[in-house]
Symmetry: C2
């Protein structure tokens, strides 16, 4: 099988991206410490055309050379906004009709593959700090928790990998509704 | 929803992991340059109980402090082997009955969500270099290419995110067969 050249991938331009129909999904980064992880989430969000990223708390914002290293320019295509208080974003999104899920291991969390989405609804997912996860106070304002089932010895996945899996799964579920 | 404490996650011990039934999936890392990415793939592979990681070409091997930073000990639980030549691993796995897919954008590649897996078959996926992707010579020895559909401006995902999405999707497909 012949590998495709970059020119054959037919990627859209930044202008086309801005105008494109987006996946009804926003990602909220709550106290993400690593610039590498922030950049990586931008890159994934570009690939799946998500609506917007909210950068909250200690999460750094573009432009930043270290974010650029992993975002590779996706920080200029994906819409983003900095809001200090994550709960403010969640309350605003809920008012706008979004279903807000924290990605966390919690009592009564829904396993990601069992998450049922509805056509015409809009969704938001909160990704938490690399060490502490999503804060209990943030979870308390969410509609629920979504958990990536894990079967190994570790307690969690890298946050940019977890975001990738969640965005992919929601992308996949939404387009076949 | 109350967040679970680490002690409530009931993770298995490294000894239990070694003895546990694995997902019939091996991951081949072909010329991965970043120690962060290598460590992250170990951590994801631990979470989904994959069988083994093959580290090939310039891909660094544990123990290494930079791999440890993102693997967080998963480099001691997940079985791994270094083989210089990726094609040698592929040919060996094919002889053992594995279906080998390169994760790459190629002519006639199968979209990840459309990949059909069979019960009782074993699978291997090849993840390529951060800049160059999987080498054409490696693709030529694979049974086929699997592609993560992407709709943004960038040409690819971060390799540890791509590995996470592919491992999650195969994990999810295999357990419901």
């Amino acid at each position: 099988m012949r590998k495709l050249r970059i020119t054959e991938l037919n990627r859209i331009t930044p202008e086309e991206f801005k105008a494109a129909r987006k996946l009804p999904l926003v990602v909220i980064l709550d106290d993400i410490r690593s610039l590498h992880n922030i950049g990586s989430v931008f890159r994934t969000s570009d690939a799946f055309c998500i609506e917007r990223i909210y950068l909250c708390g200690i999460t750094a914002v573009p432009p930043h050379p270290e974010i650029h290293k992993t975002a590779l320019g996706a920080e200029f295509t994906v819409d983003w906004k900095y809001v200090k208080n994550t709960v403010d974003v969640i309350e605003e999104l809920k008012q706008e009709g979004y279903m807000v899920y924290s990605v966390e291991q919690a009592e009564g969390s829904v396993m990601l593959h069992e998450l049922v989405l509805e056509r015409d609804k809009k969704y938001a997912v909160v990704m938490g700090n690399e060490v502490k996860g999503v804060k209990q106070g943030v979870i308390d304002h969410s509609h629920g928790c979504v958990e990536i089932p894990q079967y190994g010895t570790k307690h969690s996945l890298n946050v940019s990998v977890a975001a990738g899996i969640v965005i992919w799964e929601i992308f996949n579920k939404l387009r076949f509704l």
